[in-house]
Symmetry: D2
């Protein structure tokens, strides 16, 4: 079921936020509501412990708990993908084993993010690590946070490993994405997903398989519908829904106009819909009342919330 | 005619390479062939003295000559846009006056590229400079070479000036471009063109007006056809042509895998088609024989040249 | 004793490499030899679990073991400083508690290194975290690896906390360091140490308190002597020793000319002196035989090893 | 006289600000007062048309005028060095010829600053350009504004050209500077000057030949005295004067806390001493009254101006 992954994996695989009841404490009731909310939108998978899930800020204990509870709640309805990006190889392996034990479908792996490394060093590291992993892997290109690009040549080499199923590209660089589409033109089973939701429609219109759209935590239908319109070639509908996606990006995610503004706005919006609280892991802080009121106002304006 | 600009300016406006006979010497015969070659492809304008035209490396005398000869050769068949980006305000004004005298249609202006400056400082500079210019202006967002972003807020302010007709965005950042489309949703006469040719199809599919595609120096029909397919919503054809555009980008422009590889590959390809030589302005050097042979091989492979 | 820190902490506090017997396994015999080797050079403290110690790549279990064993081996002869930099606050606290239990003298804290954050967000985070820590703290400015600068204004604010004893600056930016010296001109008990060994002599000549010199793992006397010459104002001797420090930097650390070249060269050099092996934590790999022979040759040339 | 350059060139060679009466107009009376003011401080040369001189923002006509008038006013009392950095090779040659005609002593050359280029491309460019120049040359490492580092290997190669007399390093990277000192240990006639005044004292204490200190436009004696103290090994005096240099940097240059704050503060300070006005070339704007009053207050505080 959920751990038999379609090849390629198509559609919307939301990067789930992590519901927290307090520092280092999962919000279990919120998690259950959130999983049901997202799945009710018709998504094609669920990605936990990514950047949107604040994974690097969470303890391993909490990460293991989140993996176990999420897989239990999803219960095979869709594949669960688990982020194992870590600066410590043993940390990556620990989370990967928890994922396998819980019945997750695949792992998502970005480069370790403290030390500089050449493409050759990273390729070797990935080869050695992937050989130890109990589940197949998606490569995660995330230079904004990790400072490392997974270059197209490195993707080409790693894609020869049977365990490597695809790439999630969060580089914001659509030329890179188009070059991946070209590279895997004759391997239609290799999955190419795009990270930022603002780029999902064009990625799908031009040959990508789908997207990991953070906004699907708030409003999963919007992204699923936009994906389906794009995949079906309904350009007019795809455009109309794409514009709503950009509306959210230009408003809700920009209440705080800094690097954490996206995460704070997103988690606040989910909490305003009554799904779970917006407690955040350090070092990021939830919005205060004024910013929260502004998010509410903007959500009503873009029609994500009733007035 | 050529200097009555459509609003918005739609379609393909190639950034023309500058045919050189030697250091600081225009290749007039090559220029004539190049102009005819590009115009024969059905383009909607011609942009000279941009990054692809090596403008910052050319003397003012040569820039003035290029403006005069190009406008004469084009003779009103399409609007000529002239880049006036410069670190010296008097240099920008000098080229702008040459453009007005020659009958060009508009100017293209990126921030000065030596000193750091805040968005407020740049906004003020643009306001003071634009007030002195004899022709309307497109803002040119080119952070890769100028180190300055023209932020969406700065665009919004400058777009209030009647002389500002639109934006050419070469930032590679499609989220930025989508936010511009959103910002000017109710001003359809404001032109939004995208810089890198690899992003033209998606820009047009999602509300942009066209692109400044360097590859149109080699093969103008390809880009014009791709634009028309995208603008007409013919997704299948747009995809097929988009893939050829990416093929060129992934091969011809990557013979030298460094920052000047695009320019050297492009000019070499034009010369292999017998249009003009590939002499380049310092500090960039034309390809040697081995790289030239490789470009020839790749052009045949992607079907831009007969074997 | 070792956990009564002098204020300011003056002199050479080497950032110790972490001797490893294999993946996730401490080399205890090597650790003992290394601690004795470094302490024999007359150093003024020992800093473990920094960048040079590959801390972000080590499991918490191994970090706790290293803290316990090192404090036991040092046995109060000099203060032990323990790096607690982490993307997860609970991880920082866990290592800090191990340090307090083992009798360490202080903690060293750089910003978390995955998410972007404003100076205000980082200041708040540091304030909340420091309030939970069982030992005093040195701030660690390390923008090269963490992507965050601890700006002078942020230092000024945090220095008001009684637990904050000083700054280790690894920014490579001596203007920043001079501004810190100016800022704490009237607080001589506040410690200012510089990170890269190549900048230690000038930092001390112009008002700094000392340095955390990685090369002191190989040759502690050199750095201690250079510090003492600089602190005593013996400019001729300081210059002579500074030039040997630069010799090492320009040769041993540049056998691999990439970002990990310093760490690989340093650990290889220590192993060539027979102190401990050069097994490295993933993703970095030890040198192969050819590079190892080159390090040997260079060490003989700069007189760090007998022929 | 002034055009027989000592080898090495030792001491303080101020990068002169450019006195302007208005847009594209030299302030000749101000220039004369400024030259006399600077020379009265005992400087060892005068560097015009650098970053501090706003060269990239000035027209060639104004640059030629400045060269001619400055050389006439200096009249051989010290060598005049002329910046010829330009994106256009013909522009560099034009200013170089003006410098030779006016009797300047040497040229100062940083990489062209629009296009990306590899170290090999830049080395070739410098070799071809230097062969055309009528005067000897100092290489100018200025990555902050040009985006290109002149790597130590490139310096080593270019230093084999007889026309290359030395390096001015404005990289802010003292490790790089120390490696240059090491590289030219056996060529004492090769000049190594440091750019930012905040790093001059340490550069001279550790083997450099002097500095190009912008603050010497305001207060030449301070920098000359600091240089002489450092060169003579008077560490106590060097420290005292270094602290005043840092005081100026941390106050006068930080009234505007952005990238142009140094230039605006410096030019304002010179005008407050009654030497010349602070009209600036676009895109930078002089301070308004509030900031000007703050500069005045700070200058009194650091004792550069009478109350």
């Amino acid at each position: 079921m959920g751990n038999v992954l379609p090849k390629p994996l198509r559609g919307i695989v939301p990067p789930m936020i992590t519901p927290l009841a307090g520092p280092d404490t999962l919000d279990l009731a919120g998690l259950e509501r959130l999983v049901e909310h997202i799945l009710s939108g018709g998504v094609d998978g669920l990605f936990i412990l990514g950047t949107t899930g604040e994974a690097p800020a969470l303890s391993y204990r909490l990460r293991r708990e989140l993996v176990a509870h999420t897989c239990r709640l999803v219960n095979g309805r869709v594949p669960v993908l688990v982020g194992i990006t870590d600066c410590s190889q043993s940390g990556s392996v620990e989370v990967a084993c928890a994922a396998a034990n819980a019945g997750a479908g695949a792992l998502v792996l970005a480069p370790p993010y403290y030390f500089g490394a050449s493409q050759a060093e990273l390729t070797g590291y990935f080869e050695r690590l992937i050989a130890q992993l109990p589940l197949p892997v998606f490569l995660y290109n995330q230079p904004g946070n990790t400072r490392h690009v997974i270059g197209t040549e490195m993707v080409r080499r790693l894609a020869d490993l049977p365990a490597v199923l695809g790439v999630k590209d969060s580089s914001l660089d659509m030329i890179y994405f188009h070059k991946l589409v070209r590279l895997f033109n004759d391997r239609p089973e290799f999955t190419l997903l795009v990270g930022p939701e603002e780029l999902m429609v064009e990625a799908v219109l031009l040959g990508g398989n789908g997207g990991m759209c953070g906004g699907a935590n708030i409003y999963p239908n919007l992204y699923v519908d936009a994906y389906r319109a794009a995949a079906a070639g309904d350009l007019e509908l795809a455009n109309r829904l794409h514009r709503r996606i950009i509306d959210i990006s230009a408003t809700v995610y920009r209440v705080a106009q800094d690097e954490s503004g996206y995460l704070r706005g997103l988690k606040c919006a989910v909490s305003l819909k009554g799904i779970c609280g917006d407690f955040m892991a350090e070092p990021i802080q939830s919005f205060g009342e004024a910013d929260r009121a502004e998010v509410r106002r903007l959500m009503i304006a873009v029609d994500l919330l009733e007035a």
